[in-house]
Amino acid sequence: MAIDERNRATAARRPEDSGRRAAALPRVAVSVEGRSTVDRRRSGAVSRRRRLAHIGLGALLPIAILALWQAASTFGWIPAYRLPTPESLVVAAIDLGERGLLGLYIAISTQRVLIGFAIGAIIGLVLGAIVGLSRLADGALAPTIGALRAVPSLAWAPLLLLYLGFGEDSKVVLIAIGAAFPVYTTVAGALRHVDRQLVELGRAYGYTGVSLLTTVQLPAIVPAVVSGLRLALAQAWLFLVAAELVGSSMGLGFLLIESQNNGRIDRLFLAIVLLAILGKTTDALVGLLEKRLLKRWG
């Protein structure tokens, strides 16, 4: 039940059609739900209280920013055509929701990011492992990868368009490219510096190649891998905008660019806020993964 903009482009803006599409949403939400369940299972009342305090602490800064924002518009420090009021964002969100677009945009962007991220992370991990472990591969591949890493997303987009067309493929591939580099860089960098004594131990006990990698080296660089995944996910969201710039008529990146073109700053800010919230939410998934990894490997 993957969402594909292509088949639905024509119908996208017909509100009466939104019910069916909204059905695609729960899939995306599942993992967010899943978190609290896992946490709850293994925590007593005390640690739950502490976790709530922790979350409360994290909410302070966003609340402060929101308050400042509200004040700025209420007291007219900044005119509304430059900075929309928080209410106008809510209004814009409701409006988009009623058109059946809000959920759809969120769902399709999230889907693109998650799939692209997954593919990119795996590629980055494999490339990082190869370059980090083999001097030969390091010499042969690292310079080229280092050069490609600096090619901006906006430059990739037309190339991918040429060879993959307008469909989901080109968007997912672009996001995967963005996600691969951080994982590649952190993994390759960290692998070069795994404790030599432990690697020697692994070799002494008959581990080589892939088995050495999975037994000793990867567990030893879990923190680096997690940082890489964090950055990869963030980068995936960044590349989403470039991906939705061309041949797209839905998604949050599309909303961002279109609103920018039309001067709809309320929608523009809405898009930014949504991207930030979704970025943070998916980041929390990596945090969850980190906890599990550290429980096993930390």
């Binding site: 004594q197 432990l198 020697e200 131990l201 070799r203 002494a204 006990y205 008959g206 080589t208 037994t215 000793v216 567990p219 030893a220 879990v222 096993r296 490997w297 930390g298």
Partner: protein
């Protein structure tokens, strides 16, 4: 708590080890300078023999073990095991390093599991791990992580891991250094028991001359020549009389002990 050969384990047969003209130098970081650590080490170790290696701190004992295990290659000379040249990280050896080298993310039992030959099926492997943990008195700590155990406990985990291999050649670098007197004796007895049931060629580095004399067939003293030529070599080889288990209070041994301590530079009266 005597060791009985587990039916589950196909232990490798003991293998002879031969070192000929082994030398090892390290290049200085600064550049062209070479620091010779070992030179002209010739030693023939019979299959199933136990050899104790003693010598001053920093003289090259650990380095020599690394040449035998294939984890490091000699600058000159060659090492063979069972007549064949040593391969990098030779799998016919099992090493207990001087530091415990436990994988911090694995529990104690999973660390010992690392030593189980991968030809063994999982159930048999688990059984052997449990058995070994019992023998090194760590059954209670099986589920703990390395950072939750004491130094002596970690050393025993490392020992158990090496024993788990059931190798042809067992290389032990001060395996009992961090153990209290009683535990040390128990572990020594354990080693002797295991060797009796599953003979392996054992090279054991130790600082304890008594330990060397109780456990080994021969004691090899490594050190520099008096003329202060750089690099240590074999200065003396002592054959230990009698068979294991030896009486630690034997008079003949006391004599050898004084002789070895003397060779190490310790005035034997001064020593305990």
């Amino acid at each position: 708590m005597t060791f009985t050969a587990p039916s589950t384990l196909a232990t490798s047969p003991a293998l002879p080890v031969r070192l000929s003209g082994v030398g090892r130098s390290f290049t200085d970081d600064a550049g062209s300078g070479e620091r010779p650590v070992l030179r002209d080490v010739d030693l023939d170790i019979a299959a199933g023999e136990i050899v104790a290696l003693i010598g001053a701190s920093g003289c090259g004992k650990s380095t020599l073990l690394r040449q035998i295990s294939g984890l490091d290659a000699p600058t000159t000379g060659s090492v063979t095991i069972g007549g064949e040249a040593v391969t990098p990280a030779d799998q016919r050896c099992a090493v207990a390093f001087q530091e415990p080298r436990l994988l911090p993310w694995r529990s104690i039992s999973r660390n010992v599991e690392l030593g189980i030959p991968r030809s063994l099926d999982r159930a048999a492997g688990r059984e052997r791990v449990a058995e070994l943990l019992e023998l090194v008195q760590l059954t209670d700590a099986a589920a703990l992580r390395p950072r939750q155990i004491s130094g002596g406990m970690a050393q025993r985990v490392s020992l158990a891991r090496a024993l788990a291999r059931g190798p042809g050649v067992l290389l032990l670098d001060e395996p009992f250094g961090a153990l209290d007197a009683l535990t040390r004796l128990t572990m020594q007895d354990l080693l002797v028991d295991i060797h009796a049931v599953e003979p392996a060629t054992i090279v054991l580095v130790t600082h304890d001359v008594d330990e060397a004399l109780t456990l080994a067939d021969r004691v090899v003293l490594l050190g520099r020549d008096a003329d202060d030529a750089p690099g240590a070599s074999i200065r003396r080889i002592v054959d230990v009389p009698g068979t294991r288990p030896r009486d630690r209070a034997d008079a003949e041994l006391a004599e050898l002990r004084a002789e070895l301590l003397d060779a190490l530079g310790v005035d034997s009266h001064h020593g305990h």
